[in-house]
Symmetry: C3
Subunit: 421 residues, 3 copies
């Protein structure tokens, strides 16, 4: 595999740089500067991480009816996610097979056929070429050869994942794990209540490093730490005891529904293994909080199969571009997309149950602030981090094994994946 935006010698140059960086990387320490600034490394990131892994694209509830679609951009790639007449979801490259026109311009919509605005090549909802009138060779041109380029797509618990590689890495195990815990949340029966889009002037890996620890939370996320325990150090014995008690209490309440808090220590949950690109778990909220809202009170009707409000939070994250925090009454999905060595596009979406009515069952004023604030506080940190990492004097420092174990794990995962030729 090669990078379509590097020449052969630029690719060799980037590989040589990568080899040196990997051999000089100190385990347990932050990544070196060039990982966060070099345009060649960025292209290798796209080649080996972004065009190989499973990317979260959006929610099944965004494409309920055949012909519903939305568009997801990853660097210069544009992906159409559309529900076909076969009721299945298809993921198609947004580039006409004729002369490469971007066929869908809107961020989302509904179509009978996907018609290229240039010369009206028309594609069925599953991407097959249906008509290309005007082609001299239309008779002998085999339309089966000219459908929109397809990519692999998987659904689990209302989430849509796509993979740009011809031979994707396995999805089955992730599907089992995520599916089991996602079930009671009912994301398939949700709707998107609000979407916020951000441009973060930082490498996508700095956004992940920020996400993979909560040491920064106490000072930077005052609203978040009121609701959650994960800012706490994992070895605070008294707190550990409190959390375990709280976990047991919440689990007891949930027993009837067959749900349990599966997380029993302070700090962020550990990623299962270095090879694993997903993790999911249910965590208790602090007493008095039944939702990740500003005051801990409910902000929307109960979702899914829940019969009680105090369900803690269901959290998941999948490498390289997704995390989600779900309370009993709403879920918040965060989707990353790289857009340059020092530029990441982020979309945050708030979901509530599909029949909830804005103004009646929920208001954006109470639904949004908790994660809107938390998100924007993080983007600000990421940008300041990028600014300092770009210094010629930057030397990677040590991670705390107590506080940043998941950053270490994340860094190991990244170095393992980027090293695969």
């Amino acid at each position: 595999m090669s990078s379509p935006f590097l020449t052969a010698s630029q690719h060799a140059d980037a590989q040589a740089l990568l080899d040196r960086l990997i051999s000089e990387h100190k385990p347990g320490y932050a990544l070196q500067r060039a990982f966060q600034t070099d345009p060649g490394i960025y292209q290798l990131d796209l080649e080996r991480i972004w065009r190989r892994g499973w990317l979260f694209a959006g929610h099944t509830c965004q494409v309920k009816q055949p012909g519903d679609y939305f568009v997801f951009d990853v660097d210069t790639d544009s992906i159409i996610v559309i529900r076909g007449d076969d009721e299945r979801i298809h993921a198609l490259h947004n580039t006409c097979r004729h002369r490469g026109m971007k066929v869908c311009q809107a961020e989302s919509g509904h179509v009978g056929r996907i018609v290229c605005p240039y010369h009206q090549w028309s594609y069925a909802r599953n991407g097959e070429l249906a008509a290309c009138g005007g082609m001299d060779k239309e008779g002998d041109l085999d339309r089966r050869d000219f459908g929109l380029h397809r990519m692999h797509v998987r659904e689990v618990g209302g989430l849509i994942f796509v993979c740009l590689a011809p031979d994707p890495i396995p999805f089955e195990e992730a599907e089992r794990s995520l599916g089991a815990l996602l079930r009671p949340q009912g994301l398939e029966r949700a709707k998107v209540a609000a979407t916020r889009s951000y441009e973060v002037r930082a490498n996508w890996k700095l956004v992940w490093e920020n996400n993979r620890e909560c040491w920064h939370c106490n000072v930077n996320h005052p609203q978040y730490v009121k609701a959650n325990y994960d800012n706490a150090p994992i070895d605070d014995a008294a707190l550990k005891h409190e959390i375990e008690a709280r976990a047991r209490a919440t689990s007891a309440q949930l027993e009837a529904d067959g749900i349990a808090i599966d997380y029993q220590e302070a700090g962020l949950v550990r990623f299962p293994s270095r090879d694993c690109w997903w993790s999911i778990n249910r965590t208790p909220l602090v007493p008095g909080w039944v939702s990740e809202s500003m005051d801990g009170r409910p902000v929307a009707p109960l979702m899914g199969d829940y019969s009680t409000r105090d369900v803690g939070t269901l959290r998941m994250r999948t490498m390289p571009n997704f995390w989600d925090h779900a309370s009993g009454d709403h879920a918040v999905s965060t989707r990353l997309a790289p857009a340059g060595p020092q530029r990441t596009l982020v979309q945050v979406q708030w979901l509530v149950r599909e029949d909830a009515v804005e103004g009646k069952d929920y208001t954006l004023d109470t639904l949004l602030p908790f994660w809107e604030l938390t998100s924007e506080q993080d983007w600000d940190l990421c940008e300041k981090n990028q600014a300092g990492v770009s210094s010629s004097a930057f030397t990677p420092g040590p991670y705390s094994t107590r506080r940043e174990y998941n950053v270490i794990r994340y860094t190991e995962w990244y170095l393992q994946e980027i090293a695969k030729p």
Copy 2:
């Protein structure tokens, strides 16, 4: 020849990429992605196309009097086109021979001498160094060695062409062909009624690919297809018959003036040969249309030697940067200039006879919309095309030989020229 903005190894790298692209190009198919995105290929385009070919710069009527000038920018080169005291037009590089100051800042104007604002080196209207007071060596410095760098310039039928190469490709045959058909239009006795400047976020070659076919016209240019036949497929027998009849009728009217419709089939006129960088022809308008205006009615006084309004349209295009559509009462010139791998600057100018008075003989409200709309619709298509071609999944598709024969011809011309070392 080399590229002033590439190092030796970057040039070798770009050449290797080009060699691979050319060898992998499938005849009759669109150009591959790197042709439209790679910075090295862009520099080769500048080196082999833009600094070798004849570039349309502007109109003789823009520099009527000695000292009149305008400036034309091609990537980072800036060209002064000025009428000298010898009444001839000179084309000069806009960079002082002292320390490289851009000597003319305005887009156009009138000067007695070209005086550098930095240290007042002063150049005659033909570019010769006239004074450089303050130079210690002014006495022994040979002023003949320090005139503004000149380039070749040619005029034909009121159009000015420049060539940045020391040994330009031949102009004579183009001069003959263009001159003969341009004569009755009287562009030398015209004036510029309006100018519109655009920045198009697309490679200059995508702008040409857009221009070289009218398959996209039916849906995208509603006003254009009311007036013109070239949206039609070349093999529609009934339409071909209609056009031929219309051509004969128009020619008959023009017989007295010694002018004829020299184009008798539907579709866009074919470029004469792959080697040829120009073409010109007269085409009938649809019945009822005597001008490329929104309703087909005249929008200005008759130009040049025409004695009747129904003269069809005189059209020409010269590679790599010019096309013009002239009705009996006005002409519209489009000039391209590359400004980056994915950025093209376009200037569109509307010309009417020189003694026409705005508000009395013509109004911009009726003169401009036809080509202003058509142009802006095209730039929008070009930008969407660039967006899709930049996808890592883009694979060039087949051109229609019935509808895109001139795109094929254009692509052949480009691949031939860019391959010349």
Copy 3:
């Protein structure tokens, strides 16, 4: 030494280009285009000039109290200049030793400790790591290894210089020369009355070329040439006589204070030698001018040890980023910082005596215009110069030995420094 933003092969490529440019450079002529445009040469400039030489950072009066700091950015490096508890000034890299966060976000301020906003690593005012609570290894992690990266810093006559190299070039001789002449100006007892920041779209070397001659002054700086003699050619005998007389007269007035005009010819003072990165001298103003103000009249109270207003101007410049013009009543410091091959950030600061009160002792309306106009006129010239130098047709022209001797000297200095591997 290497460039942190070039790969090994990019560095070799830049070095090869540099070697060719140096071998082809014609003494007494302007620098070739690639010196002002090439990204690789720009990185060598950073490596060999900007991260080796003594850079003017600011004034001691900007950091009067322990904990006072300001930030100075050089390309992607950010430097904190702070007064420590030891009353000494420290220069620290603005990048946390943990994960590289930019620790100081404000341009200036006052701190007890420098606390990283990310995870609250806290540094003493001298950069030493004081606390990093949360580090698992905090006990065994040796805090002495994790202070903010320091750089060398020197003070002379109220000016602060920093050097990013581990082994700086000598400062002592500069300290002696600058210190002696700066003494009466009293910059240590001054305050910053105003600051203007500019982004100039030109290579930093074109800004210096502009600064190193006053041939351009007559036409471009009408206010400047009213006050100063340096626009005059050095070999105008009558003027030389006038200036010498004026210098003697001013010196006589200053005798009591032990100060003298040490400059007795027209034109700009010559740099002492090609190896020398500083120069300083006192120059007479034209009769009737006792300050570099619009009308020559005082604009603020006398500074320092001066007992009379007519002290001429004290001028100094240090390579690669500083010049200052001081009248008896105010001083104007100009600080450069590169921010890209064709982008330079400039900060201009006006200083008056520390107890002067705005609105009472001085007004910005009369203090600023002289140098605000002169500066902005120069940035405009620099940008036009860059535009012309970027032309593919640019060929460096000859400097005037009478008018541009200091540009020649500057060019020699630059070529000498950049050639050092």
